[in-house]
Point group: none
Amino acid sequence: MKILLIEDEPELRKSIKQYLYQEGYLVESAEDFVKASDKCADYEYDCILVDITLPKGNGLDIVKKLKQNQSKAGIIIISAKNSSDDKIAGLDLGADDYLAKPFNLAELNSRIKALLRRRNFDGNKSIIINEITIIPEERSVTVNQEPVNLTAKEYDLLLFFVSNKNRVVSKNSIAEHLWGDDSDQMDNHDFIYVHLRNLRKKLMDKGCTDYVKTIYGIGYNFKVNP
Amino acid sequence: MKILLIEDEPELRKSIKQYLYQEGYLVESAEDFVKASDKCADYEYDCILVDITLPKGNGLDIVKKLKQNQSKAGIIIISAKNSSDDKIAGLDLGADDYLAKPFNLAELNSRIKALLRRRNFDGNKSIIINEITIIPEERSVTVNQEPVNLTAKEYDLLLFFVSNKNRVVSKNSIAEHLWGDDSDQMDNHDFIYVHLRNLRKKLMDKGCTDYVKTIYGIGYNFKVNP
DNA sequence: CATTTATCTTAAGAATGTCTTAAGAATTAT
DNA sequence: ATAATTCTTAAGACATTCTTAAGATAAATG
């Protein structure tokens, strides 16, 4: 799960980033709206945390912009102003949640979780794709009720496929989602092959085959027949 | 016994929480209905204390909602309005009891006890997970009727696992529950390893094994098969 | 059909995370 | 004040996962 944090205070930015990283998220950050816009133009995020009280620019404007461009990302507004005006305005513009400073990090985390669940899984506890069941809060995956032990990268990869099922994803977009914006400069993404193979193998060992189809020269397609 | 307290006044919230914790309950709190709803989506509670005079939102609405979703939880309404209208309305919507502010904590406690006794007929306050029995009131733990001597940290750790059974908890969240909010900034949480080991060992010595599963790089999962 | 390019497979070393142990510090009980 | 218990620190052992690299296989191109 990839998060963009827009926050100008270096200290706060660092500690939020650190915390969310430890919670297993891939976190990127921007210190102002210009940089944030740039990033949003280049990348897709699952969730965007935006402090709307930044010195330059109107915070609510960027919420509107983000909402227009990043259709998939959920937006959580962070604000010191605890006026309900701001809250209402933000939510009207399409933000999904609102968090007043100061907040504690666990609280932020549970908001993010709730948001992701609402957006990605229609609020369901488990994702069921034929014989495959994924329960995000357990971080567990089963095939025909049998548990499949996936590593972090394999799990992230599977989740990325699932949330893009029946859609072709490029190696670039996979790399970006699993490794972040550092992955641009990487000359090759060969390790994807390795993780993908391990994932396929583990699923295959449980009798699960033909899900991740390779599209030569383009990318991959996680196929699910309804 | 897990209780959710919905109360906006920080002082009151803190003191009720503190008191009930000392009485052996596991207490979580939410300051408004949105947060309360999120928590209810995530957890099951045995009892929910809800202050229906919160500034935002209609308190009676949430009683209705809670009753629909959390079928198991008993609901006690707290209210400053001591009008019998409110009382009747609340009880009609499915609340189990009604307590007018100001109340004293002992009174609250006996209401909770009565409610829990009514609901779990036998009136015992133990948490039973297969061969493990925990009696929060006594801070005691037994495995197959044999007592297990746990230290404070070990007990807290076990209780945290139990209240998050079948869910992955990160080291961060463990640290936060055992050492408080300051632990965010701690660079390493290595002592968790030690307490966890001691807990595992004590359980294992009584023949209790495979409960706390390590999820490499992510956290731990206290597994209980229903 | 030969060549190029992309993907797959395998295995080993690097990096990271977890477990265990023991000893000193802090706390609590006697 | 002394003893007992519990908590924290630190260090090394151990385990898992990630990345790297190189050779094998498969697909596209002319």
